[in-house]
């Protein structure tokens, strides 16, 4: 397996500081697309084993024995300076994966919550998980060709956003737009941190 890999996969050896941000949202909202738009490596997929939480799921499907299931996570990497690398981890932020979320999101600086304004309710669970783990976040509405132009105030209200939480729109396929969404997130984290200090 390793013999097929070129040298291009490795992290620059001058990197001293590594940080991570989460990209959270329901299936199909564009997490991996957004990560792929900005990542310097092809988005990678890794898996985590789920046993305890999976048992509940298994009960629902009528399978009596507890079995180990896996949950896939997509991630990408951006080298932001000679000595600084940023990882972006995409996860749906579902309650039943809370254990895995806790492990992956530990130490993350913040989260970009992706939502689709046509199906806002699908992002409620992701918002809940991010809030439960006290991760600062902004919400980015991924625009699709048939996305209607809802009034911003209505969207904020529907998402029950804190007045200080930014709500932006983005096109997850577009590198510049995806980059801007991350800039807005880090700006928010920066301002928030300054207020806390």
């Amino acid at each position: 397996m390793a013999s097929r890999l070129s040298d291009g996969i490795y992290v620059r050896d001058t990197v001293q500081t590594i940080v991570k941000l989460m990209v959270v949202g329901p299936f199909g909202v564009g997490k991996t697309t957004l990560i792929g738009a900005v990542s310097e490596i092809e988005p990678l997929r890794t898996e985590e084993l789920m046993t305890q939480a999976g048992a509940v799921v298994d009960d629902l499907t009528g399978i009596p024995a507890k079995r180990t299931t896996t949950v896939a996570l997509d991630f990408g990497r951006l080298t932001l300076a000679d000595d600084l690398a940023l990882y972006l981890f995409g996860t749906p932020g579902q309650q039943r994966f809370a254990q895995i979320w806790k492990d992956i999101a530990r130490g993350a600086f913040g989260a970009l919550v992706l939502a689709d304004s046509r199906f806002l309710d699908q992002s409620f669970e992701a918002l809940g998980v991010v809030e439960r783990f006290n991760l600062p976040y902004i919400v980015a509405l991924n625009t699709f060709p048939d996305t209607p132009d809802y009034p911003r105030a209505e969207l904020r209200e529907a998402l029950d956003l804190d007045p200080r939480t930014p709500l932006i729109t983005c096109n997850a396929q577009d590198r510049q737009s995806a980059k801007t969404a991350l800039v807005e997130l880090v700006k928010h984290l920066y301002i928030r941190q300054q207020e806390l200090s």
Binding site: T17, L80, L86, Q193, S197
Partner: protein, 125 residues
């Protein structure tokens, strides 16, 4: 991120002696902790899965998550295997994850400086 069953994981569990949780040396292994192979170590006694990690990590630094992804092993299994290799000296840990959750701690100014650097880096992309 659809949960699914994988029969091929049986081998991984056998390999890790049924350990579902890392038992040693892996407490500090965040998904983005950097690891690399230590040159010049003998390969005797290494399982093929251990060897695959050493081969992969020979080329430079990779995060734990990248090792898992390239080898097609779940994170948990990868951490256990890396723990074995750390203990045997085949793999060394490089830079560790900066903790974004440390906000409000004594290192506030460091935290703000790091966010500033992240911002500048993203804007310059």
């Amino acid at each position: 991120m659809t949960p699914r069953y994988r029969r091929d994981l049986v081998r991984s569990f056998v390999l890790t002696g049924g350990r579902a949780q890392p038992t040693r040396n892996t407490g500090a292994l965040d998904v983005i902790t950097m690891v690399t192979a230590v040159p010049g170590r003998p390969f005797t006694g290494l399982q093929p899965e251990h060897l695959a990690i050493v081969e992969l990590c020979r080329g430079g630094y990779l995060s734990v998550a990248e090792v898992a992804a390239h080898l097609g092993q779940p994170l948990t299994i990868t951490r256990i295997l890396l723990g074995d290799l750390l203990a045997s000296g085949h793999v060394a840990v490089g830079a560790n994850a900066s903790d974004g959750g440390a906000a409000g701690a004594a290192a506030d100014s460091d935290h703000i400086r790091l966010l500033e650097r992240m911002l500048r880096g993203l804007q310059a992309l």
